[in-house]
Amino acid sequence: MIQIIDYGAGNLASVANALTKLGQEYEIISSPIELRDDSKIIFPGVGAAGSAMAMLRATGFDAVLPTITRPFLGICLGMQLLMPYSEENDTACLDIVDGEARKFTCDLKVPQIGWNTVSQIYNDPLFAGISDDAYFYFVNSYCVETPYAISQTDYGYHFASALKKDNFYGVQFHPEKSGEVGLRLLLNFCEL
């Protein structure tokens, strides 16, 4: 069972559609009391860090998420919120994984919108069956610097496009919008 966390920040349809396509059972939950002991967690991120953290605090998810011991996948902003801090809206975040979310300082167009390559640093099970330098779909103005990167991507300079610390994964790209490769990554997560 996959539980998708809905903290009111946006549209979860595409993650849900991808899980349906993969034949995975899922439910969307909007309160920490709905968390089950036997589920994996997907934490999508839409919108800005400041408002997302405010909603996580209002729902009580902010206190519970760091204590989760089951496989957890933060997507896009959901990855950035794992950091102690994001430059976006000068926001204190969940502080689960060391590092920082910073605005792109490259002279390329920001936000980065489109397909970019993901260079795997480790042979992590999340990337099983996915070739190195495969393309994934990105939409981001901020990016993560962390010692826990498991892949990196070049947009003027290298940033962490995926991370892993213990049971916590984060991906900066949108696997649910990254075609068959993205579906494979989600399946890998579901089968952890």
Partner: protein, 250 residues
């Protein structure tokens, strides 16, 4: 490095494609969901739907199309045509589209851009600009190219970026339908002078035109006829671009 996106555009009226698409073996496809899936399988990076339904009923049907497409293809797609309010934008996004495209409504009511960006994020808001050559540059035209305004296209492009648009879809009214290639002067002017990605639109008749657009600074390349009539598959287009050292997702 970011790849140049190849984007087929599908015109839909009352839930059907306005022109049937001939994929392999000349099977004529009028179902937008099936056509989208074919392009997805061919490796399209994104798909644009343009709804030209005139009736409220047609728009309802379009939302059904969006919901079905979202279940079948796992790449971003946008929906444009007839979106006038934040409520219209919300309906399309909640049905599963990644982005909405607004054009005339943004010219008439520029705050729609900033309100949309605030509500859903800039990445959801594509502003379509139809530009026409005039003696001293390019002018914005609206209502599908039928009504001229006195607005300078570059000034408007910079304004929509400032208001929070995530991307511009730049369509040349002069080039549209000619099959003679994008208006490269227009494309260079806008893409060099705005900070957000620019999707080139209007005029593609062969693969060389896609290459010209990429070289002129477009971040993404939209085309319709060359894909719809099976002159080229998306994959052939990408292989051609790669042979010219343009970065594409293959």
């Amino acid at each position: 490095m970011l790849a140049k996106r190849i984007i087929p555009c599908l015109d839909v009226r009352d839930g059907r494609l306005t022109k049937g698409i001939k994929f392999q073996k000349n099977v004529d496809i009028g179902d937008p969901v099936l056509a989208a899936r074919k392009y997805y399988e061919q490796g399209a990076d994104e798909i644009v739907f343009y709804d030209i339904s005139a009736s409220p009923r047609g728009r309802e049907i379009m939302l059904d199309v969006v919901r079905q497409v979202a279940k079948e293809i796992f790449i971003p797609f946008s929906v444009g045509g007839g979106i006038r309010t934040v409520g219209d934008m919300r309906s399309v996004l909640l049905s599963g589209a990644e982005k909405v495209s607004i054009n005339s409504a943004a010219v008439k009511n520029p705050s729609l851009i900033s309100e949309g960006a605030r509500a859903f994020g800039s990445q959801c808001v594509v502003v379509g600009i139809d530009a026409l050559r005039v003696s001293n540059g390019f002018q914005v035209v609206i209502n599908g190219g039928r009504v001229a305004t006195s607005i300078d296209a570059l000034t408007w492009a910079q304004e929509v970026a400032r208001l929070g648009a995530g991307e511009i879809c730049l369509n040349s009214i002069d080039a549209d339908g000619t099959y003679e290639g994008y208006d490269l002067e227009l494309l260079r002017l806008i893409s060099e002078n705005v900070e957000i990605p620019v999707i080139a639109s209007g005029g593609v008749g062969n693969l060389e035109h896609l290459y010209e657009g990429a070289s002129a600074g477009a971040d993404a390349l939209l085309a319709a006829s060359i894909f719809h009539y099976s002159e080229y598959s998306i994959r052939e287009a990408k292989e051609f671009l790669r042979s010219k050292n343009i970065t594409v997702r293959l």
